[in-house]
């Protein structure tokens, strides 16, 4: 029984991590149709932001909170810079954005290696997040609960921004029909940059959260990028709701399969399931009509 519960929390926790990593991508890939291979490196930027912020604040708790904010800004600014400097020239050519952002990712990785060195950096976890709590016989690390809460907060905030703010309305308008939105006086340039800022900022936040469980090293982003793309594709392009469901479904699926097999085999089985699923529903769980890749 405690195994079942333990794996349930493991799955939810893995799902929340996937969700954090994929949330920003569901904006920039799902809604903007840009294959941003540097998204993983924006996550990495969030990790290193935490490391740097921790050098300033002596309390790991304060530094974590400050890092969440600064991580969002760092990721966001990197994203905005990428959009303004490169992506704006190639919105109509998805394959080029793939190549270009892949190159940007390599540059950022090497930059991190040159600045911080290749071995992982140690980011301290606040005292109050140390250890775990026992729920029905299963030990759940507090860091994982924190990430779960953070993911829920991030999704709700993003959904609210998209639904209820003027910026959100503009983003949705541009996504659905760019021409009509522009004719109605919406600046698509500003909207594009803002969307990228928010999407990449969320990657930064994901990076900050990941320092609680994993390593802070130049290649950390790569381990999450593919999974993040999977989540967005399975969820259905341009769908926050789909992203959420896909993230938790993958997390749970993975944790239960991995428990009864091994990590490597679980990865294979999950991929096979995804391939079969995409045969049946190539458009993902949910879809809206957008100017997307499909």
């Amino acid at each position: 029984m405690d195994v079942l519960i333990g794996q349930l929390f493991t799955g939810l926790s893995l799902g929340s991590i996937l969700l954090l990593a994929a949330l920003g991508l569901s904006l920039t890939f799902g809604q903007m149709g840009v294959i941003n291979m540097a998204h993983g490196e924006f996550i990495m930027a969030g990790c290193y932001t935490t490391y740097v912020v921790q050098k300033v604040f002596s309390s790991a708790g304060v530094s974590l909170m400050v890092s969440l904010l600064i991580g969002f800004l760092v990721g966001g600014l990197l994203g905005a810079a990428l959009e303004m400097g490169l992506i704006r020239w190639m919105y109509d050519r998805p394959l080029d954005t793939l190549l270009v952002t892949f190159g940007v990712g390599l540059v950022l990785q090497q930059l991190a290696r040159d600045i911080f060195g290749a071995p992982a950096k140690n980011v301290l976890v606040p005292e109050w997040l140390g250890g775990g709590i026992t729920i029905m016989g299963a030990v759940v690390p507090k860091t994982r609960i924190f990430i779960l809460v953070l993911a829920v907060v991030a999704v709700t905030t993003l959904a609210t921004v998209l639904k209820a703010t003027p910026l959100g309305r503009r983003i949705r308008a541009v996504v659905q029909n760019r021409g009509l939105a522009e004719t109605s006086g919406v600046s698509s340039r500003v909207t594009d940059i803002s969307t990228f800022f928010i999407g990449s900022g969320l990657a930064g936040v994901a990076g900050v959260a990941l320092t609680l469980i994993g390593s802070t090293s130049p290649t950390i982003g790569q381990s999450y990028l593919i999974d993040a793309f999977l989540v967005v594709v399975i969820g259905g392009l341009g769908q926050i709701k789909g992203t959420v469901i896909a993230a938790f479904a993958l997390g749970l699926l993975n944790s239960y399969i991995e428990y009864s097999t091994t990590a490597s085999i679980a990865k294979v089985i999950v991929f096979v399931i995804i391939v079969i699923f995409l045969q049946v529903r190539p458009q993902g769980l949910f879809t809206v009509r957008t100017r997307s890749l499909a």
């Binding site: 405690d2 333990g6 794996q7 493991t10 926790s13 893995l14 490169l86 020239w89 190639m90 919105y91 109509d92 050519r93 190549l99 270009v100 190159g103 940007v104 990712g105 390599l106 540059v107 990785q109 090497q110 930059l111 290696r113 060195g117 290749a118 071995p119 992982a120 950096k121 140690n122 980011v123 301290l124 250890g131 775990g132 299963a138 030990v139 690390p141 507090k142 860091t143 029909n177 760019r178 021409g179 522009e182 698509s188 990941l210 469980i213 994993g214 390593s215 090293s217 290649t219 950390i220 790569q222 381990s223 993975n254 944790s255 991995e258 428990y259 091994t262 990590a263 490597s264 100017r291």
Partner: protein, 426 residues
């Protein structure tokens, strides 16, 4: 459905401009990562005749490590320690009256580059010996070059065993000098069951095969065996499995960044070194800093050398290294092996009274050196060296302290011929 963006934002006239940007970025990325990986135009010297020049008052040797790329941080320290030994030897008068002239090359974390640079060092720089390599793949790439060009490589890192080349001297531990002593230690501590966790590639798979054979012969139960893809950072399920398995100890052959995630998860799940210790074979002083001493304090490692080894030779080695490369730089097992390599080469040359490869090979057996880890002696039959086995405990100060050592240097046995239980291993 036509792409609306193409219709409403005609940008085709910018095609040329837009093409420049992606190309430039991709090129910049490749340049940055491949920095130093430039091909060398050295001519192939397929004739095995040595071009080593012994007529001058200096003799050239090569250092070939990754000074750029992923492996750089680990290997730069090893290259530094090679240089330290050479500087010391030069200051003391050199080898056979000749100063050592170091030719530094960069393998750039790429096996192909290692092979090319090895050929360059042997054929166009005409070095008498090369000190280098870290990953097994770099060694495997260089091996045929050293064999066909008949030169010498000193390889300083612990590895999976099951190899002996007449042109390579292995100065890191082989399995029976690291993994088996660690298992003996656990057995002696009364551990009757193990859980195996490793990265999914050659070294952990090979090591775990050996561990399982050992366990079968020694009445140790293997409670579980799990591999994760290299670089994996999600260990919650594995830690759940380990927790419910209630093994006596965990044998950890994870590599690189995975260790950080593993030990964080392990600590957070409430598992303690006192109840279920983890024995690691790939975590040295530098890695401890990255994992965070607070996450790993109390856990065990198996190596031949720690910075804290309490001998006068080691105190001098640590002090000299810190004086040359920075007070905050720790020394580690591969660095110590690299340092010993240079002295072993020097002692062999002096015994042979020659720099020729054939003479060195002939003279190698029994050559020894009082290394920081203790006395090491070359075994002429398999080209490995005797090494003192140690089990260490990681303390909150980030250093590793010996809790057990083999007392005397362990004879190398790369094919585990002297163990009955290893008969089935091939």
């Amino acid at each position: 459905m036509p792409d609306s963006r193409a219709i409403h934002r005609p940008r085709m006239h910018r095609a040329a401009k837009a093409l420049v940007a992606p190309t430039a970025v991709v090129l910049a990325g490749l340049l940055l990562t491949a920095c130093g990986a430039k091909d060398d135009d050295s001519t192939s010297g397929s004739n095995a005749a040595s071009c080593v020049d012994t007529s001058k008052d200096s003799i050239k040797v090569g250092s070939l490590h990754s000074l750029s790329g992923t492996m750089a941080i680990s290997e730069v320290t090893v290259a530094n320690s090679t240089k330290l030994a050479i500087d010391q030897i030069n200051a003391a008068g050199g080898v056979l009256g000749k100063k050592i002239d170091l030719v530094l090359e960069d393998g750039a974390s790429d096996p192909k580059t290692f092979a090319e640079k090895a050929e360059k060092l042997i054929s166009s720089d005409c070095v008498a010996a090369v000190f280098g390599g870290w990953t097994s793949s770099s060694r495997k790439a260089m091996k045929p070059k050293f064999e066909s060009l008949n030169s010498l490589l000193y390889y300083p890192v612990q590895y999976e065993g099951l190899e002996d080349s007449k042109n390579i001297f292995y100065t890191g531990a082989t399995t029976n000098q690291q993994i088996i002593p660690a298992l003996d230690y656990l057995k002696q501590k009364g551990i009757t069951s193990l859980y195996l966790v490793g990265s999914d590639y050659v070294f952990p798979q090979t090591a775990n095969r050996e561990i399982k054979e050992y366990a079968k012969a020694n009445g140790i139960e293997i409670k579980g065996e799990d591999y994760t893809p290299l670089g994996s950072t999600d260990f919650s399920t594995i830690v759940n499995k380990v927790r419910t398995a209630k093994a006596g100890a965990v044998f950890n052959t994870l590599n690189g960044d995975s260790n950080v995630a593993f030990f964080r998860e392990y600590t957070n799940a409430g598992l303690k070194a006192a109840e279920m210790p983890v024995v690691s074979v790939s975590i040295a002083e530098e890695e401890v800093a990255g994992i965070g001493a607070q996450n790993i304090a109390g856990q065990l490692t198996a190596w031949n050398y720690y910075q804290t080894v309490d001998t006068p030779v080691n105190k001098k080695f640590v002090a000299d290294y810190k004086a040359a490369f920075g007070a905050d730089k720790p020394t580690s097992d591969p660095m110590e092996a690299a340092y010993a390599s240079v002295y072993l080469w020097k002692n062999t040359v002096e015994k042979a009274k020659s720099f020729a490869v054939a003479d060195i090979k002939a003279a190698a057996d029994g050559v020894s050196f009082e290394a920081p880890e203790g006395l090491v002696t070359l075994d002429g039959s398999n080209h490995h060296i005797t090494k003192t086995a140690r089990v260490g405990e990681i303390r909150p100060d980030g250093l590793i302290y010996t809790v057990w050592n083999s007392g005397k240097a362990v004879t190398p046995d790369p094919y585990l011929k002297s163990y009955d239980w290893a008969k089935g291993l091939k």
